[in-house]
């Protein structure tokens, strides 16, 4: 099966999340090939899992003050701060029958590509079920998957560099104030590429691209005009709305 690869693009949170849904629909309807895309977020944003309460997880006022967007994903999992300059995000969108039937196995398969991508820049990482990738026990990538209408969508981030100061301001950490102790605690549990290797973000991206396309028949492509139009509408009428983002 041939894949479409949409190379690194930068969009806002609403477009990024809408694109996954639009592409899923296009793949299902045979209008698009199974797709792998890479993207960054501008402005920086917080995404929350579909079962989370936005107000419980995100300091909305601080986000508004800092110009950080916030969006609810269609996937479960936790709240993630997407630093415009700090990470690369991927999505894999394809018929679910192209993947193992077991959810855990499919997480392992797709996350294995990230492990390979990190190995390509000299970072030894391992997959930790259900959905994490760690380096020496510290998380460097989180991932989330949904399966709807026969389409598997998995997306995740690879942390290039950490901005803990902003992250602590926009994410509500239960009962914890921003303190040196709190920051140190996170530094013991989370890492990033620049903490592990002297590589550029471009090299990280190229290595991830190689890992995700290895042994795959693929072509580089972009969103079709129809997909782009649908994505923009979905971003505007759903993903950027209070009704969607504050629905729990």
């Amino acid at each position: 099966m041939r894949w479409r690869v949409i190379g690194l693009e930068v969009h806002d949170a609403y477009f990024n999340m809408a694109a996954d849904e639009t592409i899923g629909k296009a793949v299902k309807e045979g209008r698009a090939l199974p797709t792998i895309r890479f993207y960054k977020w501008f402005p920086s944003a917080v995404s929350i899992g579909c079962f989370q309460s936005l107000e419980d997880e995100v300091d909305v006022e601080k986000c508004d003050e800092l110009g950080v967007d916030y969006v609810r994903r269609r996937t479960g999992g936790g709240a993630v701060y997407h630093d415009s300059n700090g990470e690369i995000t991927y999505s894999v969108i394809a018929p679910q029958n192209m993947f193992p039937k077991g959810i855990r196995e499919s997480y392992r398969l797709i996350c294995g590509m990230i492990v390979d991508g990190l190995a390509g820049i000299g970072i030894s990482a391992e997959f930790v079920p259900i959905n994490d990738i760690v380096v020496n026990g510290k998380k460097i990538s989180g991932n989330a998957q949904t399966r709807r209408d026969g389409i598997l969508t998995q997306h995740g981030t690879v942390l290039y560099k950490l901005d803990l100061q902003t992250m602590f301001q926009v994410l509500k950490v239960s009962g914890e104030k921003i303190s040196d102790k709190a920051i140190k605690s996170v530094e013991e549990r989370v890492t990033c590429v620049t903490n592990q290797a002297d590589v550029t973000e471009e090299n990280l991206y190229k290595s991830l691209l190689d890992a995700f396309t290895k042994d795959r028949e693929f072509e580089f492509g972009r969103l079709s005009e129809e997909e782009r139009s649908e994505t923009e509408k979905l971003a505007s009428y759903v993903y950027s709305t209070r009704a969607w983002n504050f629905n729990r």
Binding site: G49, F51, Q52, G78
Partner: protein
Amino acid sequence: MIAVKLDYDDKIRKVVITGDFFVYPETALREIENAIVGSSANETDAAMREKIVAKVEAAGAELLGITPEAIVSTIKMAMK
């Protein structure tokens, strides 16, 4: 991590289960919540758990990072 938003008097009128877990299919969580609505506020843990398990099985659902026991325990703690 799981939390609940609860409306109840002598019965549970509304429950919203929130957290960083995964439910497949995602729609099964609403079905679990609906199964809990109408339960007596004094319902035993076992009875509430049974309702949740029945709904999970009927939906063919898979829960990751959340269990029926954790849901029951969180709801009961919220009512104390």
